[in-house]
Amino acid sequence: MNVLERKVLELIGEDPDSPDVFTDDDEGMAPIRDSINDAIQEVIMLTGCFKREYYIPLREGQAFYRLRLGGDLGWITDAWLVNNKSRLSQTDLTRLNYLDPRWQKTSATPASYFQFGRDVVGLYPKPSGTTDILRLTLVEIPAAYSSDKDRIKLRDQFQYAVVHYAVAEFWASRGDSLEAQKNMQMYMDALGLTKEYSASPEYPRQLRATKDPWPVAQ
């Protein structure tokens, strides 16, 4: 039983040291653990608070790479060409088709990237050589933890939010929709989703336009 599971048991009236219903083993803890895992994934999906870096060795003429992560790919926050020391800008299919209809043929040093579906990243132009490597920073939505010794991939600030989520699900599973609703509201408040403006000034949210032209193949 990890610290989050203990907090949940306390709030639903169980004694964490001598639990009655939710026993301290995989089977007994499964309902609480599933709720906490769901909450962690939802919090990261919304806030992007868990990031990782990965390297992709580029291959000549290969534009598409399907990433197989331990969890799920959330979104890419930046892409960096190590050898070329350049940042890749994010683009999409609509823009590529508009600016360069034969974009799949164009081969040079990659200048932009795009994300398709769950796990595919594409590069434009496609690499003309194998000398460079791409460093991706991405939000990863972690796979469910299964043991009380596993790392909880969550910002400390959101731990109480996750606890309220699990408590809400407990009451809903017991048929008490009012209590469930109350705890769900506490989850939303703890997450900061009900605030009109961001409570994290360390992350500037404004959009900024630039007059630089779109990157094109050199």
Binding site: Y65, F116, Q181
Partner: protein, 343 residues
């Protein structure tokens, strides 16, 4: 995580572990319906696919009644042409059946599997290719890295009397049959049938390919995986001499306990919420309105969250002020002068 695990979680929330009120089949139908609803409202699932040409099928059949015996296969091709109580290969055969002496000249060979059409002969019929099983709507298609546009059979027939036999670099595709989920390339690819992906030729099998019959006909290339042992691997999507497509997914139904739902793990809970809401709202002994409304609210909230997540995916965009090529073009219409009528 399979449908069996999803079912267990749903039953836990319904407090019906033994299926006393809601049967497995009932919940499965709700789940499949909820998957479609969630995808329609969020458009969260999209995928890319490298489709080999010609497509590979597990088995082909002729008569409609044969289909009943093929339920164990997922890639099935109905070959040749039914006529009266027969199946015919060539166009002159119906003339013989009708007792007409004349023989029409056929365009080329006929086949029971599409790959046979590429064995150095001219095919006498259209070469159909299937979209992936989970195909929804198409966003983009290319053949051998060249973009190809959507068209219609009418347009192709009107422009080219030899549209069946014309070969070259495909620049157009048209839907053959929505039910069969198939399309036809025009002109048919002028490539030589080869048994390897490398080099000039139609892809058939390559070293390290694995056939994926669950999602479609193309293989997953496993031999090009990098650093799999370290928990992060890269598969390469090969687009040379293949049809490359980007499409939105229509989630496939779960049928048996071992089926894997198509939504990523972090989105599946929202589908479950909808199932629980509908189960509590159903007209049976388990109907509890307050719980149905609670889970319905959670589902609606989930849809908003996923839309927010889809916005998050664009957070690395640079927004640029551009001029020139992005100038808006206005359609020109015939119109009367501004001074008319004189007042």
């Amino acid at each position: 995580m399979t449908w069996a695990v999803e079912l267990e979680k749903i039953r836990r929330m319904l407090r019906d572990p033994d299926g006393t009120i809601w049967s497995d089949a009932y919940l499965r139908h709700l789940y499949n319906d909820a998957q479609q609803d969630f995808q329609n409202k969020t458009r969260a699932l999209e995928d890319i696919h490298a489709q080999r040409i010609p497509g590979l099928y597990q088995i082909s059949y002729q008569y409609d009644w044969e289909y009943r015996s093929l339920s164990t296969y997922s890639q099935i091709y109905q070959c040749l042409t039914t006529h009266d109580e027969y199946v015919v290969c060539h166009a002159w055969e119906p003339q013989q059946i009708a007792g007409i002496d004349a023989d029409v000249v056929d365009y080329g060979i006929h086949f029971s599997h599409p790959w046979e059409s590429c064995m150095s002969e001219v095919p006498g019929e259209l070469i159909k290719t299937r979209f992936p099983n989970n195909f929804g709507t198409l966003s983009y298609m290319a053949y051998n890295n060249e973009p190809i546009a959507a068209g219609s059979k009418k347009r192709v027939q009107s422009a080219d009397a030899s549209y069946i036999t014309t070969e070259g670099q495909p620049f157009l595709y048209y839907m053959y049959d929505d039910e069969d989920n198939s399309f036809v390339l025009y002109p048919r690819p002028s490539t030589v049938f080869q048994s390897d992906i490398s080099g000039d030729g139609v892809a058939f099998f390559a070293e390290g390919d694995e056939e994926d019959t669950a999602t479609g006909i193309i293989a997953v290339r496993t031999s090009t995986t990098d650093s799999q042992e370290e928990g992060f691997s890269v598969d390469i999507v090969d687009t040379d001499y293949n049809v490359f497509m980007v499409y939105s997914v229509s989630p496939e139904d779960v049928e048996v306990e071992s089926d894997e739902p198509e939504f990523p793990m972090f989105m599946r809970k929202y589908v479950r919420f909808n199932v629980i809401a509908r189960a509590y709202g159903g007209n049976n002994d388990g109907k509890i309105r307050s719980l149905s409304e609670y889970w319905s609210t959670r589902y609606e909230l989930g849809i908003k969250f996923v839309k927010r997540y889809l916005q998050n995916k664009r957070q690395d965009r640079d927004y640029r002020l551009t001029s020139g090529p992005n100038q808006r073009r206005y359609a020109r219409h015939v119109r009367l002068p501004d001074t008319y009528p004189l007042v």
